[in-house]
């Protein structure tokens, strides 16, 4: 079950030549599951995805099938948005699907669109992903020419088009309502989110399913192997495998496909080859930069699924594991982390707009050895005043790690400050 490449649902075609071309992709089975799906009733497809235990791989980990089920019964048109705005530091897995197997993503998005009877799919790619954008553009053209996109798809009587949306370098556009605003041609300010939003009120006020690239790419595989088999690959509440982005101080960083619930040590030591230069492990950021840092002791028996990581006091998020060795200064890490959020805060909510810059200034002062003892408490206090006081989760995304760095590595901050 463990190790690299034994279970390859998503990564099966990674690295194989010609896979981005539609002929080769079809020879290897692409779109066969779309054919199967359109012969099923839409609600049967949704039920199957629900049974599989597939959870969103974009960060929040919400049940994909349940999300699809929130679409109101009588409102049309409906949209599907593929969130390809991957920009959480540490996360770099969706890029591989876009570059190596674009037709798998298209097939998954089309099956989702069939399940919710959507008429348009938007693939929203971040602006910096120039190469993946070129690949997806060609894949959409090819799939359209072959009749997988367009009118009366595979004789089902259902029509659906696929289009590209492009970001222009703003992290917040990966938040689903920020993404929708951006897609509508505005600055990507997140919207307030009542329940079932945006499934009920999304793009142009119409029902919209926003799913991450990896989540949708799993859908054809669920139809292929069956919901039971898929669910059996992971843990009881986390179906299937995950693409884990491993980065930082490891010998072989990379993206590894492993079953949900795999021990963290398997990823770091068996796949990643262990810590750079055989140094000691100091800490791990388990789910992208917005997750709480875990000390080496807390990681000892950690398993990588949503519940286990939450029980350890952090979150699996987008499954981006960043490894930190004993040579890294945690106050310096705090500077890198807060700099990101200070740069990316969209400015809509005052606590986040003002607070993120404040955090960066305090963190920089401490890391540069110019801080005062009270700066440490101020850091914590400012983070506390951002947490839970913003429209979207970006506030918490900077507040949580800030507080966890101080709680767990306070001695490093204290060693740097003057009285």
């Amino acid at each position: 079950m463990t190790g690299n490449g034994n279970i390859r649902l998503l990564s099966r075609n990674f690295g194989k030549s010609g896979q981005a071309g539609i002929e080769t992709a079809e020879q290897r089975g692409a779109y066969a599951m779309l054919k199967k799906a359109v012969r099923m009733k839409p609600e049967e497809v949704t039920a199957l995805v629900k049974e599989s235990g597939l959870r969103g791989h974009g960060g929040a980990g919400f049940s994909a099938g349940m999300k699809w089920g929130f679409i109101p019964k009588d409102t049309f048109p409906r949209y599907v948005c593929v969130n390809a705005d991957e920009s959480e530091p540490g996360t770099c897995k969706d890029r591989l699907i876009l570059e190596y197997d674009p037709h798998l993503l298209l097939e998954g998005a089309l099956i989702c669109a069939w399940a919710v009877q959507a008429e348009r799919i938007y693939i929203y790619i971040r602006g910096e992903y120039f190469y993946p954008t070129r690949i997806m553009h060609k894949a959409i053209e090819d799939a359209r020419a072959k009749g997988f996109i367009g009118d009366n798809i595979l004789g089902s009587g259902w029509s659906c088009t696929v289009h590209l949306g492009t970001g222009a370098g703003q992290y917040i556009c990966g938040e689903e309502t920020g993404l929708i605003e951006s897609l509508e041609g505005k600055k990507g300010w997140p919207r307030l989110k009542p329940p079932f939003y945006p499934a009920a009120v999304g793009v142009w006020g119409k029902p919209t399913i926003v799913n991450n690239v990896e989540t949708l790419a799993f859908v054809p595989r669920i139809l292929e192997i069956g919901a039971d088999k898929f669910a059996a690959l992971g843990t009881p509440k986390n179906g299937g495998t995950a693409l884990l982005s491993l980065s930082g101080n490891v010998k072989r960083p990379g993206v590894y496909e492993l079953p949900m619930g795999v021990p963290l040590k398997t990823l770091i030591y068996d796949c990643g080859g262990g810590i750079t230069a055989d140094r000691k492990l100091k800490a791990v950021i388990p789910g992208g930069s917005s997750s709480h840092i875990l000390t080496a002791e807390e990681c000892e028996n950690l398993r990588l699924d949503f519940e286990s990581v939450a029980a350890a006091g952090s979150m699996l998020g987008s499954a981006a594991v960043m490894v930190i060795d004993e040579t890294v200064s945690i106050p310096r890490l705090m500077v890198w982390m807060t700099r990101f959020y200070a740069h990316e805060s969209c400015g809509q909510c005052t606590p986040c707009r003002e607070g993120t810059g404040w955090l960066l200034r305090l963190a920089t002062r401490i890391a540069d050895g110019k801080g005062r003892r009270r700066d440490i408490d101020d850091l914590y206090e400012v983070a506390n005043n951002i947490d839970g006081k913003t429209i979207c989760a970006l506030g918490a995304a900077v507040a949580w790690p800030t507080k966890s760095y101080i709680k767990k590595f306070r001695h490093e901050f204290e060693a740097l400050v003057k009285e």
Binding site: N4, Y122, G127, T166, A168, K186, G254, V255
Partner: protein, 180 residues
Amino acid sequence: MQISDTLRKKAEEIFFRFPPEHREAALVPLMFEAQRELGCITPDTERWLAETVGVSLVKVREVLSFYCMFRTAPAGKFLIMLCHNISCCLAGAENLQQHLESKLGIRNGETTSDGVFTLKYAECLGGCSWAPMMLINENQYYQLTVEKLDRIIESYRKGQPILPEEPTPLLGNVGEPAPA
């Protein structure tokens, strides 16, 4: 102002992506295309965008100032975006920053006096597992070292750019047997 036929054709292609009653949705991708062709978004271009898309000028300004990849003044011939986020810094990006600044004689956001290179630090380019990473214009480069960076920069200076590794390299990653 003079708008090229290529850009007008692009605009039509982009409008096709959205329902006809939502032309304003074309603003971000069209601004991208305009910048690609014209080098930056000038006040003239803003007016053209507003008219073409059918929104007020202030809306265009709002979008222009919100997204960090848009600019109002031209960049150098080659825009270097070097990532300095957590994974890249853990892999030595700060060394690369210092090296690049002293090599080019410019700092973040500046352009060399000959107009060839503009340097801009980026907050995560999505290459974390192959860090450090940079983009030069639309080309992606991974696993940078000082030597590799020097080779790439020199190749651009000579006008014969080293082609990037596309797609993302897989060595030691998923789908490949782990190296011994």
